[in-house]
């Protein structure tokens, strides 16, 4: 796969590096793969966030990376109807090319997909490419999203979409089904979901099948951070600098060197000053005496004249 692409291009090298990381550390919440013919075109699928009306849904999308990636942000487009973002339209986020001034070159496709999952339960506030469907409609769309992947693009791209869909079906648990016998249980769940979405610190429910506790904690923490701040990726990244700053402070403390000041006492310097002062005093006294004597003589001359 690497032989096909121009390794001298820094964007290509970076994208290949991301593909390797995606394949070596797969996630249960999303999957993304580039096209064989064009590595700057990616297909992705994300799973709806837990404890929301999107839970269990599998939403497909497309990512276009710029030629100057990672110095320019990519653009995102969702293909599955979801009730939060429009389909076949580039969505406006702080991680997309609508706001290149907010983009950070240290972000990647992985961080963007995590942020996208976290943005789904948020209030759109009329952002470009956003929708504000009711919860029931979103829930219906989530159920429908699992039945079949969307139809989009060339046969090669469709094949990739189908492959991703199969992977997500095997990973994501099904949508919680409301039934007559569980109607009473479903209502308190909805209430809990509402309170958790509104509260700044939602509590995580017991983990589902195939999901480790670490991933649950990590995702929940990121959600909390992102709910508080739309640019959640920045906030999550800021945890590391504080630690590194502490290390820097420790290093600076160890490196601090306080050389002792050298105090030199010159004993004979005082003697010289004393002698100089005495000499000056004596000279002044002598001059005053001389002046007094001469003034007396002048007085005598004056008296002789009169």
């Amino acid at each position: 796969m690497a032989d096909k692409y121009n390794l001298k291009n820094p964007a290509v090298k970076r994208i290949l590096q991301e593909v390797k990381e995606m394949q070596s550390n797969p996630s249960d919440d999303f999957m993304s793969l580039p096209l064989e013919e064009n590595i700057f075109e990616w297909q992705f699928a994300i799973r709806g966030p837990r404890d929301t009306e999107f839970e269990g849904g599998i939403y497909h999308g497309r990512i276009q990376l710029p030629s100057e990636y990672p110095f320019k942000p990519p653009s995102f487009m969702l293909l599955t109807p979801n009730g939060r973002f429009e389909t076949q339209t580039k969505i406006c986020l702080s991680i997309s090319n609508h706001h290149p001034e907010h983009w950070q070159p240290s972000w990647s496709v992985r961080t963007a997909l995590v942020a996208l999952i976290a943005f789904m339960p948020t209030n759109p506030n009329g952002a470009l490419g956003s929708l504000d469907y009711k919860k029931e409609e979103r829930h219906t769309l989530a159920i429908k999203s699992r039945e079949a992947p969307p139809k989009f693009g060339t046969p090669e791209r469709q094949k990739l979409i189908d492959e991703i869909h199969e992977y997500m079906l095997s990973k994501a648990p099904p949508v919680p089904q409301p039934s007559a016998t569980e109607a009473s249980e479903e209502n308190p769940r909805n209430e809990e979901a509402e309170t958790q979405v509104n509260s700044p610190n939602p509590e995580s429910l017991p983990a589902g099948e195939g999901i480790t506790d670490q991933e649950v904690d990590g995702i929940v923490e990121e959600q909390e951070v992102i709910l508080a701040n739309p640019a959640g990726v920045e906030v999550s990244r800021e945890v590391q600098p504080s630690v590194s700053r502490n290390e820097v402070l420790q290093k600076s403390d160890t490196r601090a060197q306080n050389p002792k000041p050298e105090t030199r006492v010159q004993k004979h310097d005082d003697r010289l000053f004393t002698l100089a002062a005495i000499g000056l005093t004596i000279a002044i006294v002598v001059l005053l005496l001389k002046k007094f004597l001469k003034s007396t003589q002048h007085g005598a001359l004056f008296s002789d004249g009169s």
């Binding site: 590096q17 070159p105 240290s106 600098p241 590194s244 290390e247 000279a283």
Partner: protein
């Protein structure tokens, strides 16, 4: 091509050992922008590692402000710290990250001052001062002024010395006689004078300069007094 492939192989090697762990240990020395082993690595004050070409391109061509690509802290180029390993500097243009760009050299590290060396053993002050004495006229004058200062310590001789000195300004012959008098003192207090001089060799010269200025001032005042008599 070969080196690039080698780097990619090296990067993927630790993956199997980290299959169960989400954190990748090999990423400790990877650039935060190109996700590859850092070339010409530099570290910001906030502790983030980058290739110098990647960071330069971000700061000078894409970023709207001087911000860290990871945490948006202020980045000042003069405060970047380069990392020097044991590897040789790559001058091969084929391995450059951005072949078409002209990227300057990395900012140099801020090297603290070397620790001052231990003080040298005591130099023989008598020898250095003796050498000074054997010099030209100036050291002779210095010694003479020193002796003159020493002579002022004796109260009994001060009036006579000062009077002779004042008259000396009118007649050169008397000045010659006066200059001979300090030599007598030097002979009488040779040992003490030498010891006194050795202790404060350098400061003595400064004091002599001050005394010269004082004597000039006194001479000027004497001239004014003489004019007043006229």
């Amino acid at each position: 091509m070969t080196s690039g492939f080698g780097e990619s192989t090296r990067a993927s090697a630790p993956s199997p050992s980290c299959s169960g762990n989400s954190s990748n240990d090999a990423g400790d020395f990877e650039c935060n922008i190109c996700f590859d082993l850092a070339q010409d690595p530099v570290i910001t004050l906030c502790g983030h590692l980058f290739c110098w070409p990647c960071l330069y391109r971000w700061l000078h061509h894409h970023s709207h402000s001087q911000e860290c690509p990871v945490c948006k802290a202020l980045v000042q180029e003069e405060k970047l710290v380069p990392l020097y390993g044991r590897g040789k500097t790559q001058t091969d243009p084929r391995t450059k990250l951005y072949p078409g760009m002209e990227i300057p050299h990395r900012p140099s590290g801020q090297r603290p001052q070397t620790m001052p060396p231990p003080p040298p053993p005591e130099v023989n002050p008598f020898g250095s001062y003796g050498f000074g004495l054997m010099g030209g006229f100036i050291p002779m004058a210095t010694a003479r002024f020193g002796n003159f200062t020493l002579s002022t310590a004796f109260g009994g001789f001060i009036p006579s010395l000062l009077n002779i000195h004042f008259h000396g300004f009118q007649d050169a012959t008397v000045y010659g006689t006066t200059s001979g008098y300090p030599f007598g003192f030097n002979g009488f207090h040779g040992g003490n004078a030498r010891g006194f001089m050795q202790a404060t060799g350098q400061v003595q010269r400064q004091e002599d300069n001050v005394l010269k200025n004082l004597l000039m001032l006194i001479g000027f005042l004497v001239l004014l007094t003489v004019i007043f008599v006229w």
